[in-house]
Symmetry: C2
DNA sequence: TCTATATATCTAATAATCTCGATACAAACA
DNA sequence: TGTTTGTATCGAGATTATTAGATATATAGA
């Protein structure tokens, strides 16, 4: 559980999580088709919006997948990321009932 | 919100929050009367249980008060700490609905 | 095969956090 | 007033996080 909080203890990662809640509200679907799909949003699109380096975003996203907050799918040369809503609700429940 | 997650991103602080959820289950009320009261639990009792230095616990508790997770009351030479349940539930709601 | 694009990994510099001991302050009490 | 107990603050060394650039890998297309 500490590991999840460590991931959330960063402005940029929180933002990414928020953007991915409603990708169409935060990423311009017209400009970036087909990088926003049912699979999620691909790294380069997230990276451009975040304004951090590609290596930083890559390691952020990897860590978010590792702690279960995101899921990823590799499709050709792209890796798509989406939220793991189940995990996020589990976190909310944990704080509500157990923390 | 990031600041709250930073506070939670530490094993010891998480433990303290958990101990204070049910102080009587975690602190021996007989040994330490009257340090566990309606006001909460005093610092020295928390410090002894945590096994970290007094200065560390003091700054942890202060930071937890500052971010709203705990409330404190000074009574004579003691400072008592208890959870801010309202704030904790707000955090759970934020994660559930907004994050 | 050569090139361009997307992603992943490695290395390193800077910044922040962790944690302690020393010390200061504050209250209780002999 | 001097001493003890509880708490707060300061300064510093060790550890961890942040973040970028360089480089490697993988895929798609000319």
């Amino acid at each position: 559980m500490v590991d999840i909080f460590k991931i959330l203890a960063n402005e940029h990662r929180l933002q990414i999580l928020h953007w991915l809640k409603n990708p169409n509200n935060h990423f311009n679907a017209e400009d970036i088709e087909p990088e926003v799909t049912d699979y999620g949003v691909c790294m380069s699109v997230i990276q451009k919006k975040a304004g951090l380096s590609q290596s930083t975003i890559s390691s952020y996203l990897t860590s978010m997948v590792n702690c279960g907050l995101l899921k990823s799918v590799r499709e050709g040369q792209w890796t798509y990321y989406k939220r793991n809503e189940k995990r996020i609700q589990e976190l909310a429940s944990y704080i509500k009932d157990t923390l």
